[in-house]
Amino acid sequence: MTISHWRHSPALITALALAACTSTHRGAVQTAPQPAAHHETSPPATAKARADSLRHPYTAADVDFMSHMIGHHAQALVMAGWAPSHGANPSVQILAERIINAQQDEIATMQQWLRDRGKPVPEARPTGTKMMMNGVEHEMLMPGMLTEEQMKQLDQARGPEFDRRFLTFMIQHHRGAVAMVQSLFGTNAAAQDETVFKFANDASVDQSTEIARMERMLAALPASSGSP
């Protein structure tokens, strides 16, 4: 069964993300090094952002997380946007509608957080994130993001086959987001900022809950000959 294959496989997700990297540098998912003591100096930001980060300055890891999750979410919007045109069943369509509603709002939250702190605000584009490494620009897919090939597979599917691929890929996609939160929380000095902690934790909790729901939906799909 596909589910058991995915369950407890963060290594697999990481491997996928790495495989999707157009560069050969390993470990590139973690971006710039984040020394514990390094706090960015507050740029001219709005009073509200200052209030939010009053006690605990944000770090480069926080900024990366908020920037990278935008592209991650944007891909979910594209995937979910296909549900009506690709003959998804009603329950998958409702799920897709909810994902669009939730992730659109979350993108706005991340963009506002970055804007308030005078950071570059990525547009919501479903591509990888551009990163400079050793002076060379690389485009990286964040954990769980679908490769171009996987997106093509999903786009070509219709009806029950779309449902199966959509759920399978969205579980992969959500697991990647949860892994990104875990990675953020495992970074020294990260997520001390109240907004970042709350946002990351809420996203992790919501998506974990949705993963469990999608696993059950996937299990309840009618059997088919083609396995994803």
Binding site: M1, I3, S4, R7, H8, A36, A37, K48, A51, L54, R55, H56, S91, I94, L95, R98, N101, A102, D105, E106, A108, T109, Q112, V181, Q182, F185, G186, T187, N188, A189, A190, A191, Q192, E194, F197, K198, F199, N201, D202, A203, S204, V205, D206, S208, T209, E210, A212, R213, E215, R216, M217, A219, A220
Partner: protein
């Protein structure tokens, strides 16, 4: 409609007060809502739409409530999130991500800051029991020493994630008598006072943040596959009242084991009616139906025809099925369907279920708890506090994240809320569905939860207002299930869910967005009824206190009866059994309800009112006699009454009043 127009209409109705005044009082004669208000209809257009933005000067809309005070946070808590509330004596304890503030609300028109305590942590969920105060810490920055500098290292002995316990015998000098660290911290907690255990209280910990390193707290295992994983469980802390310093985790119940209920859409009344009609029509036309998950559905011919053919084959016949064949199939169908469902369920592999609860509401008087746990609403048996047992679980494809639970006082209903988007997102826009980010109401029969309807604060909010179902409590109006609930920047909504299929809003208060240009966090975290008033914890604006104002939907007698219920303390998630003292208000409240529902004839109602009025003025002896006779008369009237149950409740209230005349204070 242009907002200027809307505003002038609303002003004319006296529904909008533009000034967000600190410490305003408005209970003197000439207050906005006249005492004789008998209206049963909500103001239209809804004055909550189009309110002016502003942090401390936002436009306001109020209906069937009166604001008694609006108090900004004290200095060290400005611009830091206010969270939940607990109450003891005449104090409101308001959690804040910077610690907590204690307000003396003896005069609700002028709350006074009794003390404040700076000790940063989110969410600083607070509970109180006698001299003990419990405060939750979940985030990565909270420190054991209450320092504000955060904790930078991923593994650190300075970090506090769990609960802090204080002795608040002297409110101004809280003593930290213990801390209990947990693997995922404490997002919320619930104090369970077991009626059989006078030596201890129990604290259920719900933690939703990632599991911390076992190097920081030994035994914390994050791997889901490990049988000792810190996921998929709650923590139970036992607190010896004589030695709170010995508080410790006594069990980590895995209340989610084998939870495989599929996400099921709670049917709306319209859906149920449509499906019943279709089933009845199909049956009348000779079709076949089956009951699947409590709902009768029509079976299509593709499903039925092969079965009929096999019935024919079984009797070694040929040709079209006869009437006897149809009858045989009809009789066998329930068994066949049930076997098919069981077979299908067996095919679905068990999943691990939720990894945590968000919050648990215990109702010790009936031995039950409602667990709001990720994708599920759970019913738990808590008679053995350290070992809660799951009795049932519901799931709903319209629900994102089960957030909190409230029982009605009789324990015949349970309401769950869905905090879709975590409270930071605007989920009350015109485009957000009524059943998303809402409450779901269930009846409880034989410890089974049965979906009835959704309730959502009905006024559309802007993109700049975080809004979703959040914390609320019962208002002790006798004979009705009435609740006041916080909707973040959607304001507060008072609604009646006595009829679980048709919840109805009966009062509200709302402000415009904190900021007109962007989403800025604010609004009510919680709004709870406590000893006669509604206290609201406003995330960015402070502490607001309201009282109910009578209308055609709620009478002065009902409000007086609600105010007669006195609690020594309140943790809303430790739900107390509400008991009404024998008062004239109580009897009159029932009479008002019977008048509204036409549950007793107009003559009988006016006669009973007259007797009560005379009894109230009479001597103790005469009063006792008159009331006793009235109670007997009402018992008789009940048999022919439209609402016999309520008339008997009324008779009982009058009888208690007659037996305890010294209790019959004039309210």
């Amino acid at each position: 409609m242009a907002s200027a127009n809307l505003l002038s209409v609303s002003l004319a109705l006296g529904l909008v007060s533009l000034a967000g005044c600190a410490h305003s009082t408005s209970s003197q004669p000439g207050a906005p809502v006249p005492a004789e208000n008998r209206s049963t209809t909500a103001p239209s257009p809804d004055p909550r739409v189009g309110l002016r933005a502003g942090k401390m000067d936002a436009g306001e809309a109020i209906w069937n409530l009166r604001a008694l005070s609006k108090t900004p946070p004290s200095e060290q808590f400005v611009d830091v999130t206010n969270s939940d509330l607990a109450f003891t004596s005449h104090y409101a304890i308001q959690g804040n991500y910077n610690g907590y503030q204690v307000w003396d609300i003896a005069n609700p028109r002028q709350p006074a800051l009794e003390t404040s305590y700076v000790c940063p942590a989110s969410q600083s969920d607070v509970s109180v029991y006698k001299n003990l105060l419990f405060v939750s810490g979940e985030n990565l920055a909270a420190r054991l020493d209450c320092g504000a500098e955060g904790v930078e290292d991923t593994v650190s002995s300075a970090r506090l994630r769990g609960i802090r316990i204080y002795d608040i015998s002297e409110l101004a000098h809280p003593k930290n008598v213990g801390n209990v660290q947990t693997c995922r911290g404490s997002h919320t907690h619930t104090v369970l006072v077991d009626p059989k255990d006078r030596e201890n209280v129990y604290v259920y910990i719900s933690g939703s943040a990632p599991v911390r390193s076992s190097s920081e707290l030994p035994g914390c295992i994050s791997a889901a596959s490990d049988p000792n994983s810190a996921l998929f469980r709650i923590e139970v802390i036992k607190v010896p009242l004589a030695h709170p310093d010995q508080a410790a985790i006594v069990s980590s119940p895995r209340i989610f084991n084998d939870l495989v209920a599929p996400p099921k859409h709670g049917e709306t009344p319209q859906d149920i009616a449509a499906s019943k009609k279709a089933a009845a029509e199909a049956r009348a036309a000779g079709g076949y139906t089956a009951v699947i998950h409590d709902q009768e559905i029509v079976l299509p011919p593709q499903f039925v025809d092969p079965m009929l053919d096999s019935v024919v084959q079984a009797r070694q016949g040929t040709g079209a099925p006869t009437a006897a064949d149809s009858a045989a199939l009809r009789q066998a169908l329930p068994g066949i369907i049930s076997a098919m469902i069981k077979a299908h369920e067996a095919e679905v592999p068990p999943t691990a279920g939720p990894t945590q609860c968000h919050d648990i509401t215990v109702y010790p008087a009936i031995g039950l708890a409602g667990g709001a746990c990720a994708g599920y609403g759970l019913l738990l048996d808590i008679r053995d506090p350290a070992h809660p047992v799951r009795l049932g679980a519901v799931s709903d494809s319209n629900f994102s994240y089960w957030h909190s639970a409230t029982f009605n006082n009789d324990g015949t209903k349970i309401l769950f809320s869905d905090e879709w988007g975590g409270g930071g997102q605007p989920k009350c826009r015109k485009t957000d569905k009524h059943e998303w980010g809402a409450d779901a109401i269930f009846t409880l029969q034989n410890r089974q939860m049965q979906f009835q309807s959704y309730y959502k604060m009905p006024a559309p909010q802007t993109q700049q207002e975080n809004c979703v179902a959040h914390n609320g409590s019962l208002i002790p109006i006798p004979g009705r299930d009435v609740m006041v609930q916080a909707w973040y920047q959607g304001g507060l909504s008072v609604f009646d869910w006595t009829d679980p299929k048709h919840p109805q809003e009966i009062a509200f208060f709302d402000r415009g967005p904190v900021d007109s240009t962007r989403m800025a966090s604010g609004g009510y975290w919680s709004t709870y009824w406590y000893n006669g008033v509604i206290v609201g914890s406003e995330i960015s604006r402070g502490l607001d206190i309201f009282e109910l104002v009578p209308s055609g939907l709620i009478s002065q007698n009902e409000i007086d009866a609600a105010k007669s219920v006195h609690l020594d303390y309140l943790n809303t998630q430790g739900q107390p059994k509400l008991v009404w003292p024998a008062t004239f208000s109580l009897a009159r409240a029932y009479l008002d309800q019977l008048e509204r529902s036409k549950g007793l004839s107009a003559d009988q109602i006016s006669s009973a009112r007259e007797t009560l009025a005379q009894g109230e003025k009479a001597s103790d002896v005469e009063r006792s006699k008159a009331l006793s006779e009235l109670a007997t008369r009402l018992d008789g009237d009940a048999n022919q009454a439209g609402d016999a149950t309520k008339v008997r409740k009324l008779a009982e209230a009058v009888r208690q009043l007659s037996a305890a005349p010294h209790l019959a204070q004039r309210q």
